[in-house]
């Protein structure tokens, strides 16, 4: 094989490994040598991927990286899903980053906004998760990837446990383009329960001095669900789940959707809906799903990640959850998002702000958060071809033209008209459209879900069926009709609202058979975390912050 003018990446990789030399013993690096190894395997100008997933973080590696100097590490093109740790922010403050491409910055949203204002956040674009992983194979292929795994064996095989998240999506493009993969693990063992990443794809392993950072992001205490959220859940169940016979779905995690999950065994049962809806789920193993699973509503659940405390429960319910040969839970963000895009009848979730055209965003001048996965689920999958009842019914209402698919995915925004502190959810124009934000993002406003993709908005006032609207003016009127007493809502015109209601485009709770005075927390299958533990027959282990007994 002529390697004179080709295989440059392979040669360069060999040089980097040579520089590491005796700092590693085979693949294994001791914790005190990590920063020196990082200096040698990363070169200025590299595309560097740091595993900052939604839940798990390669935090030991990130912290070691943040101890380096700008002279050792500069002009780095950072690609990562979630900017979560102070160490991540440090990299920007130290001036090491030439460009960043990411998806979500929730916990560091304020810090990122500050960096933007200080012009220290050179962003390429905010992406959705699958969009970023896709670019790892196109123009953002990582040269070096720093990842987090649960365990490694003495050969360097990796076990990812419940929180697979996007590790395979990062490792594959890196390993197969002569990149370098460095994994931190909680422990090195003789024998893994199962092999999730083969040693062939791993170059270095360190047993971190502390377990990887892992957040219980998706646990919602039923005690915090309000009567208003129960009302909205009842309205959604009758006006959407029941009406369209939603069999497959994704819940954007929140108290609103947790209320729906906890109403299935009670209110849903009373309505005779078991078996007719909610059989197939793409969602994390949420504790609030336990009563519905125990009551026989759920056929299967695939997830993008795990949830702290649900390890024993998921392992004991392998007929519902995806588990490995070793018996423990398995997840995959890239594939979960793909499933959430193509293979479900409905996405339902909340947002912080919605404008009069139905566009939504969680970004404001003082908090730049990004999108996470919502856009992948909350959009119309025009590449879809297989029909389901819900898809066809929603499609018929949308009156597709000759060049459009006959079906539509249900994309539902479930929001209260006011957020905490009486801040209105509905606005004439999104904060995300602010010129300074657009400028920082090269002219593209960070809209999470586009109004054209939304089929319904559900508030405590009722349901607006946007898909059935025939013009932009009509859609705006429908949104104002359910925007309650926000400034946007107060601008509604009585005649227009009454006409939309007569045509069924706007429905009040009474119109879908729900009496507001019926809505009460006592309808929930359980009112507290302790109740979830009982429902789970003792298999659910709530994290310490949720235990008050």
């Amino acid at each position: 094989m002529n390697t004179a003018k080709s295989a440059l990446r392979r040669q360069n990789k060999a040089q980097r490994l040579e520089r590491v030399g005796k700092l590693a013993r085979g693949k294994f690096v001791s914790p005190d040598k990590v920063s020196q190894v990082l200096k040698r395997i990363i070169e200025p100008g590299d595309i560097l991927c740091l595993e900052g997933d939604n839940q798990k973080q390669a935090d030991f590696l990130a912290n070691q990286l943040a101890t380096l100097d700008k002279k050792d590490l500069h002009d780095i093109h950072l690609v990562m899903s979630c900017i979560t740790l102070p160490a991540h922010i440090q990299l920007f403050k130290k001036g090491m980053i030439r460009q960043v491409d990411f998806c979500y910055a929730g916990p560091q949203g304020t810090a990122v906004a500050d960096l933007v204002k200080a012009k220290k956040f050179p962003v390429g674009a905010i992406h959705t998760y699958n969009e970023l992983y896709a670019r790892y194979y196109i123009d953002l292929t990582p040269r070096v990837a720093l990842i987090a795994a649960a365990q490694a064996d003495r050969k360097g095989n990796l076990f990812l446990a419940a929180n697979t998240e996007e590790t395979p999506a990062i490792v594959e493009p890196t390993a197969f383009s002569d990149g370098i993969v460095f994994a931190q693990v909680n422990e090195i063992v003789d024998r893994l329960p199962r092999i999730d990443i083969p040693a062939d794809q791993v170059d270095f392993v360190v047993e971190a001095p502390y377990p990887m950072h892992l957040q219980a992001l998706f646990t919602r205490d039923p005690a915090a669900i309000t009567d208003v959220q129960v009302l909205m859940a009842m309205v959604a169940l009758r006006g959407i789940y029941e009406k369209y016979e939603v069999q497959s779905l994704n819940h954007g995690v929140g108290f609103n959707t947790a209320a729906i999950e906890l109403l299935l065994p009670t209110y849903g049962e009373r309505l005779g809906l078991k078996g007719k809806i909610c059989k197939y789920w793409m969602v994390n193993p949420l504790p609030t799903m336990i009563p519905a699973i125990e009551s026989g509503w759920v056929e299967s659940v695939f997830a993008v990640g795990g949830e702290v405390g649900m390890e024993r429960y998921t392992a004991a319910h392998s007929d519902v959850f995806f588990t490995g040969r070793d018996g423990s839970f398995h997840s995959n963000r890239a594939m979960g998002q793909l499933a959430g895009h193509y293979a479900i009848d409905m996405f339902i979730g909340a947002s912080l702000q919605i404008d009069i055209n139905g566009n939504s965003s969680t970004v404001s001048k003082n908090r730049i958060t990004g999108f996470g996965g919502a856009p992948n689920m909350g959009c119309q999958p025009t590449g879809r071809r297989h029909p389901t009842k819900a898809w066809l019914k929603a499609g018929a209402e949308a009156n597709p033209g000759p060049g459009s698919p006959p079906g539509r995915k249900l994309v539902v925004q479930l929001v209260e008209t006011f957020q905490a502190g009486r801040v209105p959810t509905f606005v004439e124009e999104l904060d995300a459209q602010d010129p300074s934000i657009r400028k920082a993002l090269h002219g593209v406003a960070p809209v999470m879900i586009y109004g054209d993709d939304v089929t319904h908005i559900v508030t405590e006032e009722g349901i607006a069926n946007l898909a059935a609207c025939r013009s932009i003016a009509e859609r705006q009127a429908a949104i104002r009709a359910v925007a309650g007493y926000t400034p946007v809502g107060l601008k509604r015109k009585k005649r227009e609202t009454e006409d939309l209601r007569a045509r069924g485009i706007v429905q009040l709770p009474e119109d879908v058979g729900v009496r507001p005075s019926e809505a009460s927390r006592s309808l929930l299958a359980t009112q507290d975390i302790k109740g979830l533990v009982r429902w789970s027959k003792g298999l659910y282990d709530p994290p310490a912050q949720f235990v008050d007994w």
């Binding site: 009670t266 049962e269 006592s522 309808l523 929930l524 299958a525 302790k530 235990v547 008050d548 007994w549």
Partner: protein
């Protein structure tokens, strides 16, 4: 499939409706009389028509009682001038009419906004409770919500003949945050809810004998517990106080140096701490050997 509403989540007025014989409640000084706090407006705080406590005459199982239910969401259920006056008047009427008096407690103690007035009112109410007991008129405190009975109301609750608690209730004087501030986080971590409830919650209080009944978190269970206690009362005598002092000295001797609440439970016969922690009130009561 659904159980009924949980007592600890119900409002004061709902609790009254659920506890009492149907249509037997006759509210005294009801909202239309607008007897509200004269002090809150100048602090920019809205008043409440009943100043945070609902009082009146009623019946339980056909028997006449006087009843008061505090509204924990209104300034933490804390006692101000009007609220305190309503309690004092109620217990005085109970003593005068020889009718048992039940207090559904949900209070942090004295309303700081009305400090002196609140202190005085609580002291006067305690005196009225002693008056009831001197006449063998039963006085019953129900402590069944997360807010609990703290400060001066915590003390007041122990002046009553009986205390009915649930696993949600807590009884103390200084709240967890104050304890942490004085003793340090290592000694008492106020953010550790399990610790807070194991030291001042209904289960431990029942175990140690400070609560007389530990019942299910429902109006029906609390009603039954109250009904059982309506015929009993004892005066506050010097002999009784001396006996109680001796009991507390014994308790201090036995558990004064114990740093772990689980050790107290174990010493009192609870074998499976995890199961006991998860158990409901009545389940726990069955597991443990209650003593003093």
């Amino acid at each position: 499939m659904t159980r009924g509403p949980l007592f600890h989540e119900q409002t004061a007025r709902r609790r009254i409706a659920a506890l009492l014989d149907p249509r037997s409640f006759d509210e005294l000084l009801p909202p239309p009389e607008r007897i509200t706090s004269p002090y809150l407006a100048q602090l920019g705080i809205p008043v409440s028509f009943d100043d945070g406590v609902v009082i009146g005459r009623a019946k339980i199982g056909g028997k006449k009682i006087y009843i008061a239910a505090q509204v924990g969401q209104f300034v933490g259920g804390a006692v101000g001038e009007i609220h305190g006056a309503k309690l004092t008047g109620l217990f005085k009427a109970a003593a005068r009419d020889k009718v048992p008096c039940v207090l559904i407690i949900e209070s942090g103690g004295v309303r700081l906004h009305e400090g002196s007035a609140g202190e005085i009112a609580i002291a006067e109410t305690m005196r009225a409770i002693f008056e009831c007991r001197a006449k063998k008129v039963p006085t019953i405190a129900v402590i069944a919500s997360d807010i609990g009975a703290y400060g001066g109301i915590g003390i007041l609750s122990t002046c009553c003949d009986f205390r009915v608690m649930t696993e949600h209730g807590r009884l103390g004087i200084s709240g967890p945050i104050v304890i942490e501030k004085w003793m340090g986080k290592k000694a008492y971590d106020s953010a550790n809810r399990a610790l807070v409830w194991k030291t001042s919650g209904g289960k431990t209080k029942y175990l140690l004998g400070d609560a007389d009944a530990l019942v299910h978190d429902s109006a029906a269970a609390i009603r039954d517990a109250i009904a059982k206690l309506l015929g009993k009362s004892s005066p506050v005598s010097l002999a009784a106080i001396k006996a109680r002092q001796k009991e507390l000295e014994k308790r201090l001797k036995r558990f004064g140096e114990t740093a772990d609440p689980d050790a107290v439970w174990k010493a009192m016969g609870v074998r499976d701490i995890a199961a006991a922690s998860l158990a409901s009130g009545p389940e726990f009561a069955a597991m443990a050997k209650r003593g003093k």
